[in-house]
Symmetry: C2
Subunit: 82 residues, 2 copies
């Protein structure tokens, strides 16, 4: 049993309105010193069996096509202990 986490974030050059909204709210709620907030999506995939090269390649392919929009988003794959 392997657990893979795919974090999908907007590319740095893309404006993040949700992040800006949270940024403003954090300031109003008294958390000073927040220079920026970026919001993204995170997917936790539970896979049967071990994460071998072939399966990791498939996860990369799907992360770059289904789970994220490569035009405006970047993704990072983290393997966590299941």
């Amino acid at each position: 049993m392997a657990r893979v986490v795919v974090d999908v974030m907007l590319k740095p050059e893309i404006l993040d309105p949700q992040g800006k909204a949270v940024e403003g709210a954090l300031g109003r709620l008294g958390l000073q010193g927040v220079s920026s907030v970026r919001q993204g999506k995170t997917f936790t995939l539970e896979l049967d069996g071990d994460l071998d090269e072939a399966l990791l390649a498939q996860v990369h392919e799907l992360a770059g096509s289904l789970l994220s929009n490569p035009v405006i988003e970047d993704y990072v794959i983290r393997e966590t202990s299941a």
Copy 2:
């Protein structure tokens, strides 16, 4: 400059329709062996200065009130190198 990541996920007992939709799509796209997919939100906060105890306590307070809904969501705070 400290960078803090707050991962917000639905509690395990809460049905995750978006995760189920992705799960179905992954199967149709040929990734076999995916037993479950959970979708959540991730917030990357850039903080001025170092992350001391007081600031970390504030981030916890905000993560549990503004960034997540404690009734249906759990959050995890990860400190990453800025």
